[in-house]
């Protein structure tokens, strides 16, 4: 037996021992890309956005785009289309994919290399007027403010997140894998002195086939079980959970209007997105707001007993996609399906993007159209509409007084709105690299201090709104260490000792990577994702109290999605607690709090109005496999030659065999045959 078969056995057997890629020939041919972030397809009532590849992946010859001139090679002059374009980090943000879209018959896909530091000129793939069709301003309400006529909120927005591409676009970090890709290009594909590169050429295959097409109505229709081609469904509506908590106990088994209850809503949003799937740090756009509100809730914890109004802390999920969470909550309130209803709301205070640099200030935005009925101290004088905020959805139903706290006066100061660069580096959370993670956790950065000031302001504002006395206001102060730890947890690293204390041990491993992005639902059941669960745990610990002996039995011990035993009034959470000194055991305890979840699924899906113009109709497509790999390709001529040789060998052997077998009795009729043979 020859070596080739032996080697095959060797490797099959070896691979049976080490579960993994069981084929050494495949290892000789392909190098798999390990960590890729694809751009996926999303659908709404009218459009599909995002990227699509062909069913078995798109193959293209690699081309490294080093400068703008190289684009001509891809689009016009290159001799071996289609090309797989690699966008280097310097070109990543400056480069508009529109021209690539135009030449899409010659472009097989794009691989974007993430820059190691944020581009200084800013980059925002989101639209320049976020959520313009589902806000409060329309033809019937403040028409002069609609569609960002007065202020363009996101001037750096290019809108590529909302465009449709028919080739796959992946993003990779700039690490060893990317070096391998560059080296492969340099060795095989580089055109030297104007000569065409010779085969074999380095090529790449990207696979990200999306099952859903056209729009949400089509894909929801195809989700129905009778459609046999995709029995599991082709898309999922975007949905998650809103987290809310009240300062006074509210009986949640009775829904609808509650007499004598006056509620001040303190709202913020929990999610963000970027062009690529699973990448959404959302530092300025979401994390600062929610950390500020959490710190404010903690600061107000001891002072809420004397307030005559209830404060309702709400963390809305899905606001990036046409206000999924807030529209659902408003819908529930209007239908009397929520603990309180819209008449119980006294006012709304929303915390938006509140990252403060050394020379930035806080601004209060309010709605110029609605009647002012609030007792907020500062009234803005300019007639500027509200920035995109959850408050707008409340205004659609009732003229409720409210303000939105932001760090920008007119347009956003956030240069990286809804992009992958809105991260810890942008907030200048600069932890010196020589510190251990524990030391980094304890370090209070300047940004954390600034955010603490914001949290204190928010807490005091809420205190006054809820009927507190001006004289007592000064004792409300947010804790900067708490703010710093929360910022570290949300933006740098979830696996740290502070968060470990809050969460049960069998859950710690799951939260290894933070993304503030709505994950699609599976089986039409809304799944609560990690950021919402994190906020829920932290809020419970900050606003709850330790349960007494009899209530400990309510505390659940089981899986993460069932952390909170619900309740008519209280909810219970089992907290791990701090590690005992000189031991690995922990002092665990049960916390009783008023924190709840509420479903954040757009009313359009409840009502099955998939073409609704009033509610968000965003859905995410399903896919089977997302991967990429690089390899060499041989020229077409060589392949045809191989086929030709094969066919020639086959025909030749057929001919020869026919001739020999027809003359076999002559050829093999020598006298040496044994006597008992027959033919």
């Amino acid at each position: 037996m020859d070596l080739l078969s032996d080697k095959w056995i060797v490797n099959v057997v070896l691979c049976l021992l080490f579960v993994g890629n069981c084929n050494s020939v495949e290892k000789k041919i392909y190098i798999n890309l390990n960590e890729t972030f694809p751009c996926v397809r999303l659908l709404n009532a009218t459009h599909q956005i995002g990227c699509q590849s062909s069913l078995s992946g798109d193959v293209g010859v690699l081309h490294l785009l080093e400068s703008e001139e190289n684009l001509d090679w891809v689009l016009r002059t290159g001799p071996n289309p289609p090309y797989m374009v690699i966008l280097e980090s310097t070109l990543f943000t400056r480069y508009r994919p529109c021209s690539l879209k135009n030449g899409s018959s010659r472009v097989a896909g794009v691989l974007a290399v993430q820059p190691t530091s944020n581009p200084p000129e800013g980059f925002s793939p989101h639209t320049s007027c976020p959520n313009e069709n589902t806000g409060v301003y329309s033809e019937t309400y403040g028409p002069s403010y609609a569609h960002c006529n007065v202020t363009m909120w996101n001037p750096l927005g290019t809108g590529i997140s909302y465009e449709e591409f028919d080739f796959p676009i992946f993003s990779v970090k700039d690490d060893n894998d990317t070096e391998v890709i560059r080296r492969c290009y340099m060795e095989h594909n580089r055109a030297v002195n104007g000569s065409t590169p010779q085969y074999p050429l380095c090529a790449m295959q990207l696979m990200s086939h999306m099952a859903a097409v056209t729009d949400t109505a089509t894909c929801m229709r195809r989700n129905a079980p009778t459609f046999s081609l995709a029995p599991d469904g082709v898309c999922d509506p975007l949905g998650d959970a809103n987290i809310w908590a009240s300062t006074k106990p509210l009986n949640s088994s009775t829904k609808g209007h509650k007499d004598g209850v006056s509620v001040v809503i303190a709202a913020t949003k929990l999610d963000s997105r970027s062009f690529f799937f699973d990448v959404a740090p959302g530092a300025d756009s979401a994390a600062t707001g929610l950390v500020a509100l959490l710190a404010a809730a903690s600061a107000l914890h001891n002072a809420t007993a004397e307030l005559n109004r209830t404060i309702l802390y709400t963390f809305f999920n899905g606001e990036t996609f046409d206000y999924i969470g807030s529209s659902r909550m408003v819908y529930d309130m209007a239908k009397n399906d929520f603990t309180v209803d819209l008449d119980n709301i006294h006012s709304i205070l929303e915390v938006g993007q509140v990252a403060l640099g050394p020379d930035s200030r806080l601004w209060l935005h309010s709605d110029p159209v609605s009647k002012r009925n609030s007792s907020v101290n500062v009234e803005p004088n300019v007639t500027q509409p509200l920035p995109p905020s959850s408050f707008q959805r409340f205004l659609l139903e009732r003229p409720i007084p409210g303000v939105v706290i932001e760090n920008h006066q007119t347009s956003f100061t956030n240069k990286y709105y809804q992009s992958m660069f809105d991260n810890a580096e942008y907030l200048k959370l600069n932890y010196p690299p020589n510190l251990t993670p524990e030391e980094q956790l304890e370090l209070v950065t300047d940004s954390a201090k600034a955010l603490t000031e914001v949290a204190t302001t928010v807490a005091r504002g809420l205190y006054l709104q809820a009927g507190g006395e001006l004289a007592q206001m000064s004792r409300i102060q947010a804790d900067s260490e708490l703010v710093s730890k929360m910022l570290y947890t949300f933006l740098v690293r979830v696996n740290n000792s502070w968060f470990d204390q809050l969460v049960k041990s069998d859950w710690t491993g799951v939260l290894s990577e933070l993304m503030l992005y709505e994950i699609n639902t599976s089986e039409r059941k809304v799944k609560t994702t990690e950021p919402a669960l994190m906020v829920q745990c932290i809020l419970a610990n900050l606003t709850g109290s330790i349960a007494n002996i009899t209530e400990v039995y309510f505390c659940p011990f089981s899986s993460p999605n069932f952390l909170f035993l619900c309740c008519q009034i209280y909810s219970y959470l089992w907290v791990q607690g701090p590690v005992r000194p000189n031991s690995t055991e922990r002092d665990s305890f049960c916390v009783r709090s008023l924190v709840r979840q509420s479903k954040a699924l757009s009313p359009a899906f409840e009502l099955s109005e998939y073409t609704s113009k009033n509610y968000s109709t965003w859905a995410e497509s399903r896919w089977s496999a997302i991967k990429g790999r690089i390899f060499l390709v041989a020229s077409h001529d060589l392949e045809m030659l191989t086929l030709g040789v094969g066919v020639g060998v086959l025909l030749m052997s057929l001919l020869l065999t026919y001739i020999v077998s027809s003359k076999a009795d002559i050829l093999f009729s020598s006298g040496r045959e044994p006597t008992n043979a027959t033919y």
Binding site: K28, Q205, E639, V649, L667, Y679
Partner: protein
């Protein structure tokens, strides 16, 4: 690489074998049965040798590359010896079966001669050996990429296909010579077949220098082909007769009585 390469390499590797099967074996059910039985015997020998090799790899030091290479050589040699042993075993089985068939059947003479059995069993061994050699490689050749990103030679698929073709034909020739030598108790011929088999298998250790592997393999193939031709009853005179297109009647009329 693509479908073109897949089909090209399949035809190269299995072309002669398919042609032989179609024209000489497919019509005779008895030959088909013995072909499949031969393939099965080869498979059992492979199973045994891989079992031994697997156990020895488990016991060995996985880190040492020299030891692994040594084990590989040991595996190849063991496999070749086992294959030839099973060929001998098959020969013995066929002899017994032939006697049994003779007593069972109504006719006076055996339905299939030992020479045909040699050819068919050799081809059976060849089919199975070729399948195990090359099917894995063919499956990967259908994908979009070709070998070479780690620096290996590009001609991997082609040379695998040619080597497989050589191996299949060689197995057929070895079958013919081996059975004939066993009939005549010519043990030096049996030993020579084993040695040649070992030589061809060990030639592949020279991969990726495909020229150094393929050229000697084809030379040996040609040599074995000539030997098998003579063993099967051919001669130069027959070839000349064939080429000058003299027909059967002429041959019969000129046939010298023994």
């Amino acid at each position: 690489m693509t479908a073109a390469v897949f089909f090209g390499c399949t035809f190269i590797a299995f072309g002669p074998a398919i042609a032989l099967f179609l024209f000489t074996i497919a019509r005779e059910p008895l030959r088909v049965i013995f072909l499949i039985a031969g393939a099965f015997f080869w498979l059992v020998s492979l199973l045994l040798s891989s079992l031994v090799w697997f156990i020895s790899v488990q016991i060995s030091n996985k880190e040492s590359a020299a030891q692994q290479k040594g084990l590989l050589i040991f595996g190849v040699v063991l496999s070749v010896l086992l294959q030839e042993t099973f060929r001998f075993g098959y020969y013995k089985l066929l002899k017994k079966a032939n006697e049994g068939l003779l007593t069972l059947s109504q006719e006076e003479t055996m339905p299939i001669s030992i020479r045909q059995l040699a050819y068919v069993s050799g081809l059976g061994f060849g089919f199975m050996s070729g399948a195990f050699s090359v099917v894995n490689i063919l499956a990967d050749s259908a994908g979009p990429g070709t070998v070479g990103i780690h620096g290996d030679s590009q001609h991997y698929f082609l040379s695998s296909a040619f080597m497989t073709m050589a191996i299949i034909l060689l197995h057929m020739f070895w079958g013919v010579v081996f059975f004939d030598a066993c009939e005549k108790r010519c043990w030096w011929a049996v030993g020579l077949v084993v040695v040649i088999h070992l030589v061809v298998s060990c030639l592949t250790f020279q991969n990726p220098d495909y020229t150094a592997t393929l050229v000697p393999a084809y030379v040996i193939l040609f040599g074995m082909g000539v030997w098998a031709f003579y063993t099967a009853g051919g001669s130069l005179r027959n070839i000349k007769l064939c080429l000058t297109c003299k027909d059967k009647d002429f041959l019969l009329s000129n046939h010298r009585p023994r």
